[in-house]
């Protein structure tokens, strides 16, 4: 496609100009907002999540691990204690500022969400495309493997993987990516089977393209839109899974703040004495998952024309 303005052959260009890339993307945002107001609201929450996560040191009045026994288990208040910044969401049993921990918890959620989405893509593609492309025994065994993994409920599988790997941030990413890659490979396999019947695959084969070339140059690029849709709808699930895992004590190890972890055994031990320790992380989690869900749904409707009629 020609993106540069066409030469007008010496005649001074008319005032009308193609909108630049920035103007065009603003247009896209506006039309998305008009068509999908709830989705745009969700998108705003996602933007807020990213801003808070990246700017955590700016937004958080305290360091997330800063202990201060003098103010342990204080309720939320706007009043300052000894001239320090007020503890907006209260403090926990170590006197750590709950609000600051929620802000840093956004970092944990976002990083895990993004890492898992990115990391799981490659094995999901490899598994799904290879299974469909080679068919026969390869497909049979790969699909039985997928069956087996899916037969174990996701949370139990994740716990089992975490027990084997031991608690660490990276292992949480690995466990969640593994599960997501396996689930997604099934969908990608289905779509690849559909693509394999297309004439251009036949044409590529006729021109002597190797298997690898057909998979990488012809199949994978055509799966990218589907991948984007899958990622946008699965992102919330990843954040929830991490929170559930941390809640049960098999997720991101303390003291790193994680919303799920803040609701875990520690938080529940004080749930009657200091319920505010639970309220802020629950709200944060609910708002973010809500926003990501709304945004993902709207994005899917806009990006996937097959579902457009279902609005």
């Amino acid at each position: 496609m020609v993106t540069e303005p066409l030469s007008t052959g010496g005649v001074a260009p008319v005032a009308f100009r193609e909108p630049g890339p920035i103007a065009r993307s603003w247009d896209a945002v506006f039309s998305f907002t008009r068509r999908k107001p709830l989705g745009a609201f969700g998108g705003a929450i996602v933007v807020l999540l990213v801003a808070v996560a990246i700017g955590a040191p700016v937004f958080a009045p305290y360091a997330p691990l800063e202990n201060n026994q003098a103010v342990a288990l204080k309720g939320p208040s706007l009043a300052s204690i000894d001239g320090t910044f007020p503890h907006l969401a209260g403090t926990d049993q170590f006197g750590r500022d709950v609000f600051s921990r929620v802000v840093y918890g956004a970092q944990t959620s976002l990083y895990i969400g993004v890492l898992v989405t990115v990391v799981s893509t490659i094995p999901a593609l490899a598994l799904g495309v290879a299974s469909a492309f080679f068919g026969g025994w390869v497909d049979y065994f790969l699909q039985r493997f997928v069956d087996t993994v899916q037969a174990v409920p996701y949370l139990i599988l994740l716990i089992a993987i975490m027990v084997v790997l031991g608690p660490s941030f990276i292992n949480v990413v690995f466990a969640l990516s593994f599960r997501r890659a396996v689930t997604e490979s099934r969908v990608l396999r289905g779509s690849t089977l559909g693509l394999m019947n297309q004439t251009y695959i036949e044409a590529a084969r006729a021109t002597g393209a190797t298997n690898g070339r057909i998979m990488l140059r012809h199949l994978v690029p055509n799966l990218v839109p589907l991948l984007i849709v899958l990622s946008s709808t699965a992102f919330a699930g990843v954040i929830l899974s991490e929170a559930s895992l941390s809640f049960l004590g098999y997720g991101v190890p303390p003291p790193r703040p994680s919303w799920g972890g803040m609701l875990a055994a520690d938080g529940r031990a004080f749930m009657y004495a200091a319920p505010w320790m639970l309220i802020a992380p629950t709200l944060a989690l609910a708002i973010v998952v809500f926003g990501v869900n709304m945004f993902g749904d709207a994005l899917r409707d806009v990006l996937d024309p097959r579902l457009r009629g279902a609005r």
Partner: protein
């Protein structure tokens, strides 16, 4: 002359169905063998010498006889392929080993805990699917009305708030507002039936919320699709009452994908029941698993993962087979 519905290879629908079920059952075998392998290999994958770890935790000492006995009990004296064959043949005979600490058979432990989990699971499926289908149908019929918006927003909220947060809130909020918390002391049905039902109800409702929201969204989407079909227009045109169109013509046909999702949700519910059992202190299979993990009681962990895996596989098979009754158009191939 009557021609029975035939299939490509000449069999009737019934025999074709039987063949399909047979093939699916045979198809379960490799999956089951693979699951058994994963369960056996679980012990090898755990880093470090687990015998050392367990001895240290158990006795604090490291004497040779205790060590040998423990290795024997875990079967670690044998190489992996032999252990696999042994575990598989024992499992097929219904022997999943014994707890390392109490020496009680794993099957007995699981059977003792299964009832509470099954009760909660069934109750939440019932509550979640019935409410989800009803709300979804209403939402579809009133598409883009204010009621539709409210119901959809509530359902997305239901999906967004994690089970453990709802469960915790159910326990904490009454304590803050009214100074009382729901009782978390489990009683069996035979001891006190009414108290038992009250205890089971709360976790079942909490689990049902997420399910209901999922079912609601799916019912709404498929209902909207079905409501656009020609036969619905025909029904309207020939003057069938609105209620009858919605319930007899549309909802019935919209149920097929809903059943699929219900089947898939079984695995999801089992994961969720680990959480509610942990929050509400219900002695179910989920808590058995969590406590077995923290006690390093690996035969129990293996047994629970295996039993749950088989349960999910069988459920999925039943869901696939049940399509035939729901939708005679579906061909098994």
């Amino acid at each position: 002359m009557y021609y029975p519905p035939t299939t490509g290879d000449g069999g009737t629908t019934g025999s074709r169905m039987a063949k399909y079920i047979m093939r699916r059952l045979v198809g379960l075998i490799p999956t089951l063998l693979l699951l058994l392998f994963l369960v056996v290999v679980l012990i090898d994958l755990i880093p470090g010498d687990i015998v050392d770890l367990m001895l240290a935790e158990r006795t604090g000492s490291n004497d040779e006889t205790a060590r040998a006995a423990l290795e024997e009990q875990l079967g670690l004296t044998q190489p992996l392929p032999i252990r696999y064959v042994e575990y598989t043949s024992r499992a097929l005979r219904g022997d999943l080993g014994a707890s390392l600490w109490t020496q009680r058979p794993v099957t007995e432990l699981i059977a003792g805990r299964a009832w509470a989990s099954i009760e909660i699971g069934l109750l939440s499926i019932l509550l979640g699917s019935v409410s989800g289908v009803m709300i979804g149908a209403v939402s579809a019929v009133r598409q883009d009305g204010w009621l539709d918006y409210v119901l959809r927003s509530v359902s997305i909220l239901g999906i967004s708030v994690p089970t453990f947060a709802i469960a915790t809130a159910v326990v904490v909020l009454p304590a803050i507002w009214w100074g009382t918390a729901p009782s978390l002391r489990y009683v069996g049905f035979s001891e006190a039936p009414w108290a038992h039902i009250k205890i089971i109800m709360l976790p079942a409702v909490v689990l049902a919320i997420g399910l209901s929201a999922t079912v609601m969204r799916l019912t709404r989407t498929t209902m909207l699709e079905v409501l656009r079909q020609d036969y619905i227009r025909t029904a309207h045109a020939k003057g069938v009452a609105e209620q009858s169109v919605v319930f007899r013509h549309a909802l019935k046909n919209a149920m097929i994908p809903v059943v699929t999702v219900l089947g898939l949700q079984v695995a999801f519910l089992i994961g969720g029941s680990v959480i509610v059992e942990s929050v509400f202190a219900i002695p179910g299979v989920g808590r058995l698993l969590l406590s077995a993990i923290s006690n390093r009681d690996y035969p129990i962990v293996q047994g629970v993962v295996l039993v749950i895996g088989v349960f999910v596989m069988v459920t999925n098979l039943l869901v696939d087979v049940s399509y035939a009754w729901l939708d005679p158009r579906i061909r098994y191939s």
